[in-house]
Every structure is written in C-alpha cells, then in structure tokens.
Amino acid sequence: MSRTVVAATTDEAVSGVEDGSTVLVGGFGLAGMPFDLIDALIRQGARDLTVVSNNAGNGDVGLAALLRAGRVRKVICSFPRQSDSYVFDELYRAGRVELEVVPQGTLAERMRAAGAGIGGFYSPVGVGTALAEGKETREIDGRTYVLEQPIKGDVALISAHRADPLGNLVYRKTARNFGPVMATAATTVVAQVTDIVPVGHIDPETVVTPGIFVDRLVRAEARRLTVQGAR
C-alpha cells in the first residue's frame, strides 16, 4: 500500500478505527503485545470489536484492558485460558463476549491466506475434532483435510523492535510471533516500535516486514514486563 505515515502519537496512530471493526492484535502472551496501541485504542473509543489474537489477555494490561473496557464483542484466538486470563474468563462465563477457538497454526495460516490472496486452503489440522465441525472436508491422496477460510482484519495493531521511516520492520526474538503475518492481513496496519532509524540503517537482507505492509508507525518505549506462569 502507499507510503507509510510516521504518527506523532499513539492516538494519531489508531485514529479512525470504526465500531464493529475486526482488529488483529499481535503478541503471544506479553511478548510482542502492542500495549501502547491498545491503550490508545481504548481512548479512541471504538466498540463492538472482533479481536483476533493468540490469547485473550493477560493480567490487567493490553488486550485484557481492552476487554475490561467492554469494547470487544468477539474474540477469535487459539488459547484464551491462562493462569492470568481472569478478565476474559469472567466476561466469557457471564456470556458477555463470544469466543471462536482456532488451532494456533490454522489461525496464523488463515491470516496468511488473507494477506496472500488465497481464497481458502485445505488443512489436515483439526480433522475429526470439534473444531472442524460444520467445516467442509475433502480427501486428498488418502488423507482427510478441512477447508479453512482467510481471516482478514480491518486494522492490525502490532509491535516490532525497530523500523525505518519507510515502514520496514525488524523484530526481537520470539516477540516476532504474529506480527509479520498480521501485517499482511489487514486493510490498515499500525506498528509500534521502540526505535525509528534513518532509511538505509536496516540491512535489506534482514528486513522481516517490508514497508509495503505498514501504513502507520509510531515510536513507543519498550515495556519491560516480566513474563511468568504457564500459558
């Protein structure tokens, strides 16, 4: 998409998100979670959101804070239940949020399909389980596959390590997780990064997300949260 905009504030970076949007939220637990963009989204006020993310919030921060603020109608994720997912658990048990559980790799691949112009794909994962119920199956070379559909976002909120002003991104260790996939799969992609370096300062061989995928970029201090406990 056209030129990446470097936003001055996180509020500017998330402006215009509409009620009812599908929002892809990066991160695996706390690693790679775009905390500042989520906080800005809470201030921005969009409601009735469908959130696609691996988890459904940890503790009181990030996605959990968005859930607590009552902005989320539905969560599509692979692993909502965690030792510290009490905000989601309470809303879910009270029937105040819908849940679609998707196998983790299928979640990633469905977003990749959206970003890659693939209309659907046959996956062997989940065949014969409750998560394939109602889905079309097909025998290919003696193996059974289930037809999976793309998941496309209106907005993606991701966190990366470093960017240049063209929107080229590099990540750090396992915080890379869903960021590169989500960056391909949403109409508007917003990335928070700890550092914006001049054009030419990122080795072209090491770019993970090329700037073509990134619409808005904003600098935000890294939060050094300690991650503990089982997923």
């Binding site: 997912s85 048990r93 849940l99 790799g105 979640l107 990633a108 996956s123 014969g128 260790k173």
Partner: protein, 220 residues
C-alpha cells in the same frame, strides 16, 4: 501365555523425572523436537548435551535453551508456555505462519505432548475436558498432533481417582485421531494400534495387573 515384556515389579512406578529421562533415551541423536508445555518440558533436562537435539518452540524458534534465570530473563524470549527461556548457538527465529508450516509440513521429528486420555487406536484428547463451564483453549496441540512425524505422549496412566487414562475410546473431545505413536506413562510404555495396545515395558505393575485395571486389549 508367556510374555517377554520387561516387567519391572522390583520397583514402583516411574517418578515424573524418571519418566522424562526414559523418554529422553528414546529420542534419536540429531532430532528436531517439540516438547509440549507442562511435564514434557522436563525431558529437556535429560537430553545428552552431545546428542545434537534441537528444540523447537512453536512461538517461533529453533535452538531453544534452558529456562532463563536472573539477568537472563528477557520478556521477548519465551517458550510456548510463556516461560522465559534462553537461546543456544545456532538458533533461528521465525514468525508464526512459518513456525506452524514447519510443524504441519512434517518437518519435526518428534513431539511429546501431555494428555487427558489416549485411546487404544492412538486418538489423543488433551485440550478440553468437555466441562461446559471450562474455557476451551487449544493452542498448538492439534497442529503438533497432526504435524510431527512421531507423536509421543507423556502422562500418568491413571487419574488421581484411579480411572485409567488409556481408554477404549476417548470421552473427552479429541485433539487428533489415531495420531499417538507411543505412550509413555509412569506404569509402562504402550504402543497404540489397530489390533490393540502393545505393551513395551512396565514399571511397578505386571501385564496381568494392567489387564485387570485397563479396559483396552493389551498385546504383548
């Protein structure tokens, strides 16, 4: 009927650490391995340093090292259980679509998963108790169950109330059908199959006693 199955009745069932060590012994040199969250994680402590076994974590890394301690803790570097870990020389990072393509595509030699139940055909149930009040959560379990070339299960043979977890048919929702190659338990090692469950070895119990306590056909 005589049996040549090793029955270790001179001792009790394996402890979790002994079980982890037992599984570690069966993982071939040079394998690429995913150790599921929970007990299977402990297998890592029993892998020989010179065996060249490379650990995969589905959140995007090959060459995962031991748990991080003190200053090593980095919130950007965790395992699939979200526990801070370390990086070994020769590691590689990749994103989630690539990580699960690797799993689904049959590139991992071995994965070891925990389980609620395993059926005698090798069906696996490890993601949902079926309790309508429980929040369902699957993570990467289904991807691993279908994708790894060998799926090993590590679990206790009996639940706390004494009911067997090796069953004729899973009563909990399935993770994968006929996907378990070998089942490692505190009381023995089992190979599920079409004609019944082959007993490889037992600990603190005889095959005869297992036949009494399990409702599956045991083959020796």
């Amino acid at each position: 009927m005589t049996t040549r199955v090793p029955e270790r009745t001179d001792r009790g069932p394996l402890t979790t650490d002994e079980l982890a060590a037992r599984i570690a012994r069966d993982i071939p040199v040079g394998s690429y391995v995913n150790l599921g969250i929970g007990q299977p994680t402990r297998i890592a402590e029993h892998l020989a340093a010179d065996a060249g076994i490379v650990l995969h974590t589905e959140n995007g890394m090959l060459g995962m090292g031991p748990a991080a301690r003190g200053d090593e803790v980095d919130p950007d570097l965790t395992n699939a259980g979200k526990v801070p870990v370390t990086e070994l020389p020769g590691a590689a990072y990749f994103h989630h679509a690539d990580s699960f393509a690797m799993m689904r595509g049959g590139h991992l030699d071995v994965c070891v998963l925990g389980a609620f139940q395993v059926s005698h055909h090798g069906d696996l149930a490890n993601w949902h108790t079926g309790d309508p009040d429980a929040v369902p959560a699957v993570g990467g379990a289904m991807d691993l169950a279908v994708g790894a070339r060998r799926v090993l299960v590590m679990m206790k043979l009996f639940a706390r109330d004494g009911t067997p977890k090796l069953v004729p048919a899973c009563t909990y929702p399935l993770t994968g059908a006929a996907c378990v190659h070998l089942l490692y338990t505190d009381h023995g090692v089992f190979e599920p199959g079409r004609d019944g469950v082959r007993v490889r070895e037992t600990y603190g119990i005889t095959v005869a006693e297992l036949r009494e306590r399990l409702a599956v056909t045991l083959v020796v």
